[in-house]
Each structure stands twice: as C-alpha cells, then as structure tokens.
C-alpha cells in the first residue's frame, strides 16, 4: 500500500547559528494508521508537521505527500491540518471561515451548503454568531478542527488538538479520530497528552532536540507493565545529559522564607 506521507532524513534549522530544530527525522504513515509524534516543548514536532503541510521548507531530506511535493496544491487538497494555537481572519464568523476554506478546497455550493452546518454543529459552533476575534482559545481550537475535516481529508494532521479543549471536547476529538481511522484516514497526532496518544495511536515516535529517540508500534515502544509516560520521561531525560531533576526555584522550596 502506498504511504500517505513519507518523511526521509528531514532536517531544518531556522537560523544558521542555531542547532537543527529537526535533525534526520524519518517515518512513514499508511492509510488508516494513527501515528503519534511525541516530544517535549521545542523538540521539533510542530516543525515536522508544518513541513509536511508545505508551510515550512526543509533544509535537507525528502517529504512525499500523496506521492508528490507538499507544495503541490493537489496533494494539499487531501490534507486536513489543525494547527497548534489556531487562528483565523479575525473579522469573520465561524460559518464564513468555513465557507472561505471550503472555497479554497474547491467545494461546490451544494457541498458547502451540506457540509458547513454539519461541521459547525460537530464543533459546537452552529449557534455562534460572533466574529473570530471574540472567540476563546477553546472555540478557536474547535474551529481549527472543523476546518481541518471540512474537505474529508485522507490525511488529518492534528497539532495539539485538545490542548485548549474541555473534557467533552476531548472526548469528541477522540471519537472523531477513531471514526476517521476506521474509514481509512491516516492521522498524524502531535500531543503532550500521552494518555490520549496511548488510547488512539497505533504507532508513535518520540522526539527530543529534533531527533527521533524511539519509534515503533505502541507495543514495541511501551513494554508490558509500563506506561507511555514512563517510557517518554525516561527517554527524554536520558537524551538531556545532566538535566537537573530538582530544579524548583529556591524561594518555593525555602520554608523559612515567607
């Protein structure tokens, strides 16, 4: 089966004097597979998914998105991307944002009329009449997921999709991922919520400082009797030599100092 996306020896740095934010990342994603990209803050997860979505240019390495370059609009037509901290044109309403993006996706008027109200209802924004600038972070996150699924993508990239959602929203996203997986959609999930990743992902890669520390199926990465969180912490701490274990500010620890 042809990979939905394949990433090979990807490298990226933002300035010449900086270390690589992404350093030799390689993986493949098959249809119907849910792949979790894990890592601490600044490990390069968002850079990887932005390169796949054609938003950043890699310095080295290859990305194949549905068999072509990520810059190819035809390849991006099959991609749904929900960014971390999503934002939208501030003076538009949710329905207008979806209509705008549906137009960019090339959906005809009939399809737009059918899909937009349903997508808004799924996101819990169907009764929302305010402009995006008045939205909370959680509402923007819901709209971010809504616009990502609007085009019925074959690859859905979710970058920290539940960070700003309440428990009900998280449950809906989990149900969405499960449902899409069953219909053959590939999912690439960036998340700090390891319990969530454990629930929905088939394979994971743990990144630190732009490098893949471990990659494989959930069973391969998490041995029997251990949790993903334990494995994650152990791998990340081992990759950071001399990382202080107890680095609370002294004024917090000092009982005598009021």
């Amino acid at each position: 089966m042809a990979a939905v996306v394949s990433v090979e020896a990807l490298r990226k740095r933002y300035r010449r004097r900086d270390p690589y934010a992404v350093d030799g990342v390689t993986f493949e994603l098959q249809p119907g597979q849910a792949f979790g990209l894990l890592g601490p803050n600044g490990s390069g997860k968002t850079s990887v998914v932005k390169m796949i979505a054609g938003l950043l240019r890699p310095d080295e390495g290859k990305i194949s998105l549905f068999g072509s370059e990520p810059g190819n609009p035809a390849a991006r037509a099959q991609l749904g991307f929900s960014p971390e901290d999503p934002d939208f044109p501030k003076f538009l309403r949710a329905s207008e944002v979806l209509d705008y993006f549906a137009s960019l996706l090339g959906l005809n008027a009939e399809e737009r009329k059918r899909r937009i109200p349903e997508t808004l209802a799924f996101a819990g924004l169907d009764k929302e009449k305010r402009q995006v600038r008045q939205y909370s972070k959680g509402m923007k996150q819901r709209l971010g997921i809504a616009q990502a699924i609007l085009g019925r993508p074959k690859l859905l990239i979710l970058d920290e999709p539940t960070a700003d959602l309440d428990p009900l929203g998280r449950r809906d996203v989990r149900a969405l991922i499960e449902s899409l997986k069953r219909s053959g959609v590939a999912i690439l999930l960036n998340s700090h919520l390891l319990s969530e990743v454990e629930l929905v992902c088939d394979t994971v890669a743990i990144l630190a400082k732009g490098r893949v520390l471990k990659e494989g199926t959930m069973a391969e990465v998490v041995p029997e009797g251990r949790t993903l969180e334990e494995v994650f912490v152990e791998l990340v701490e081992a990759s950071t030599p001399a990382a202080p274990r107890d680095h609370l500010p002294s004024f917090i620890k000092d009982k005598d100092n009021p």
Partner: protein, 304 residues
C-alpha cells in the same frame, strides 16, 4: 481562479469590518462635506460683500460661485490626496500582515491554494477597496461641486484617477514591506519613500519651470533621479484650475491679473506643473508591476 476569488471576497468582507477604514472613510466623507457646506454657507452669508476688484465693485453672483467652486476643488484635491494616502496605508498595513501575524495564514496555506492565487486575491481585494472608498469620496465631492454650479467634474475625475494611481503604488509598497517586516515599520519606510518621491517630483517640476536656473549638471542629476525614483502621477487639474482662475479674474476685473497690466496666461501657468505624459504613465505601470511582484515574492518566500 476559485481560490483567488475566495481570498478576494473574504478579504473584502474583512476590510469592510475593520474600524480603522470605516473611521478614515467617515472622516473623509465628513471632511469633504464640511468643506463644501462651509464654503456654501460662507458664500450665502457674505456674497454681497465679496469683490475681486477695487472697493465698491459689485460682483456678479455667478462669478462668486465660480470662485467658490475653484476654492472648493482646490481644497478638495488636497483632502482627497490626503485621505487616499491614509486609506492606502490602512489597507496596505492590514490586508496581508494580519493573516501572517495572527497565524491565520497557517490554516489558509495548508489548503490547496497557491501563493500566487493568495497574493492575487489579496491585491485584487485591496485595489477594489481602495477604488471603492476613494470613488465614493470623489462622487460625494462631485455632488458638492454642483452646489456651486458645477462644470469642473472632469477635472475632479481625472485628479481622482491620478490620486488613486499614486495611492495604489504606495499601498502595494506597504503590502510588500509588511510581508517582510512589522507593519508599522513598513508604513514608516513607505512614508519616507513617499516624502522622497514627492521632493524629487517637486524639484523636477521647479527645474522644468525654469526656477532652478540653467545648471546642466543639476538638470541631468534631477532628470536621472526623477526617472530612478518611482514618481507620482500628476493630472492637469492644477493647470485647469489655474486657467479657470485666470479666466475668472480677467473677465471679472479688467484691472486684475488678466488685465493689460497683469501677467499673461502663459506666465500664470509657468509655475504650475504640467500633467504626466505617456512615459510617466508607462513608468507608473512598470512600478506597479514591480511592486506587485515584490508582494508575491515576499508571500511566496514567507514560511509560516
């Protein structure tokens, strides 16, 4: 094409909801109304006392109206130019920058829209918004011109087109710069460019009118500078106004500027800059194409 239209459509919707544009438009609208109504009220109150000749001369009310219309159009040209620039800055600073700055571009560029289609849509929306706002102000000005009898509509229309052309150049420059840098810094750079360009045009006109002497080196230097720095287009409005003023005074006051002792028409027009020629218009088109390309290159290179 669909992508371009979608970007243009929703950029226009956004622009119509931006308060800053609305505020500039309202100030412009009220400002033009104030100039027109103010002059009309003034003429109604003092028309019997207005005279262009020696004390005691009784002035024809039609001439007073004509004089007031000339004053109105002259003030209006300055006001229109000022508001066209303000609107150019307001649109240029926001149309693309806010999408890039807020992160909206991340979601937009992940959709199957090319950067060319995005840029074309943004520029098209910005140009349409600019033409619509300045056009409405110009129509308002034309209507107020009828308060004074009318007759200079064509002058005003041609001047509006020139002002629009100059404002479009500046707007594209701000659009391009704001893709590279902070939009306030972009506006400051564009403002400096506009001031330099204005000084170059002024000096060039002074030289053409013979006010800067006959220094060959200066002539060559200013000519080179004039064609190097993208310069503003000038309509023949100023000349038409000067000519109309000359006619008014010469017919209404034999002892005035048009009289035997006054300057001739050629002398009166000598200091007024002439309209831009075909070469200037071609040069403007070239500059517009360059600036539009700069916007595209900036958007294309931009990583979000």
């Amino acid at each position: 094409m669909k992508g371009t239209l979608a970007v243009a459509r929703y950029t226009l919707i956004e622009l119509t909801r931006r308060r800053i544009l609305l505020v500039f438009f309202i100030i412009g609208f009220l400002g033009i109304a104030a100039i027109g109504i103010g002059l009309r009220v003034f003429s109604s109150a003092f028309s019997t006392g207005v005279t262009f000749g020696p004390p005691g001369t009784v002035q024809d009310p039609a001439q007073v109206n004509r004089f007031l219309e000339l004053m109105f159009i002259q003030n209006l040209i300055g006001a229109l130019g000022f508001f066209a620039l303000l609107i150019a800055f307001a649109i240029g600073m926001t149309a693309i920058y806010h999408d890039l700055d807020s992160g909206a571009a991340v979601a937009i560029f992940s959709k199957p829209v090319s950067r060319l289609a995005f840029t074309t849509g943004k520029v098209a929306a910005a140009v349409v918004a600019m033409i619509a706002i300045v056009g409405v102000l110009s129509i308002e000005a034309t209507l107020f011109g009828f308060l004074f009898g009318g007759g200079l509509e064509q002058t005003l229309t041609v001047e509006t087109v020139a002002q629009l052309a100059n404002a479009l150049t500046l707007m594209l420059l701000v659009l391009a710069l704001s893709t590279w840098m902070n939009n306030i810094v972009a506006a400051v750079v564009a403002f400096i460019y506009n001031a330099v360009s204005g000084v170059v045009v002024l000096l060039h006109n002074e030289m053409a009118a013979g006010f800067l002497g006959d220094n060959g080196v200066l002539k060559v230097g200013l000519n080179v500078l004039y064609w190097l720095v993208p310069h503003q287009l000038i309509s023949d409005a100023q000349r038409q106004l000067a000519r109309a003023e000359f006619d008014l005074f010469s017919s209404g006051n034999q002892g005035g500027p048009g009289g035997s002792s006054g300057p001739t028409l050629d002398q009166a027009l000598a200091g007024v800059p002439g309209p831009s020629g075909a070469a200037d218009i071609i040069w403007w088109g070239f500059v517009i194409a360059i600036f539009a390309s700069l916007v595209y290159i900036a958007v294309r290179r931009r990583q979000v």
